[in-house]
Symmetry: C2
Subunit: 173 residues, 2 copies
């Protein structure tokens, strides 16, 4: 599938509702458990998505579209959320994420990105030259990846509870 | 995490809303594409979940709790949905799934399952003896597995579009 801005926004604007539907109001046993040492809980993933809204995707979009000569992105801290206190209720994190995402998508629309703009580039500190289309495709796939991760982490809490069904359920293996 | 009926129902009752939020109204390019030959599209997965509501989880629960001596489950056809026509709009499938799931969870509640009931058993045609707790845990993990699958299948549509970010996005690898 070729990159398409509107089809990407259709995914990006749904993610807060998807996560709220999955996580709001359910037991902490689903939300604060993970897959083992140095892996993330659903709570950590939502925190990570918030950091992305604040420091990554739209910030980098604006760097690419700016008239500045310096197009080097600031490195993204993938572990920032792990430094935060874990006592903010998940409902608050979900609201914050939804609000930041809405603001960012409004900003994206305001930029009136053209087909030409999508080919403009920035410099990723590790990956080198990347286009705006690649950045926005990555933002979309990143959302979907973390929805999949949250589902997997939750499913794995029942790895032993499913008994013989473990053989059929790839997700817990 | 130990099996808990209410914590499982909390997941099971959310799944139709999660899938509707993810899939309703978005482009067919996201819904009818898959990961390659003999893999399922998000559309196929929703069809599979419908077959499960009709023939699997609650049907088997009732076999386990019945007074019949024959506790052997009818084999579940994991490919039944692939025989269906693909021209029913996804919105209709999602509504059908939501309606069947609601009916099944109402039925589950009506059964007033006790801790004792959870240890009762049925015979899976391939896996052998399984408990009711294992069946209900498998139902829950199965939902989460298919939410993860749908997210992954969608993310993979952008595998080439993310460019160098492929190195960071495990989901498209």
């Amino acid at each position: 599938m070729k990159f398409d801005l509107q089809k990407s926004i259709a995914i990006l604007e749904r993610t807060p509702d998807v996560l709220t539907t999955m996580l709001q109001g359910i037991s902490k046993d689903w939300i604060h458990t993970h897959e083992g040492e140095d892996t993330w809980s659903p709570y950590d993933v939502v925190g990570h998505l918030i950091v992305g809204e604040k420091t990554d995707w739209v910030v980098r979009t604006k760097i690419i579209l700016s008239t500045s000569e310096n197009k080097i992105f600031v490195p993204f801290d993938r572990f920032a959320q792990l430094q935060e206190k874990q006592d903010i209720p998940i409902a608050e994190l979900l609201t914050e994420f939804a609000s930041l995402r809405e603001k960012n998508l409004t900003e994206l629309t305001t930029l009136q990105i053209t087909e030409q703009d999508l080919t403009r580039t920035g410099i990723h500190p590790e990956l080198g030259e990347v286009t705006l289309a690649q950045l926005l495709a990555a933002w979309t796939a990143h959302d979907l990846g973390h929805i999949a991760q949250i589902s997997r982490v939750m499913a794995k809490q029942y790895t032993s509870e499913v008994g013989p069904w473990k053989a059929y359920l790839k997700i817990v293996n």
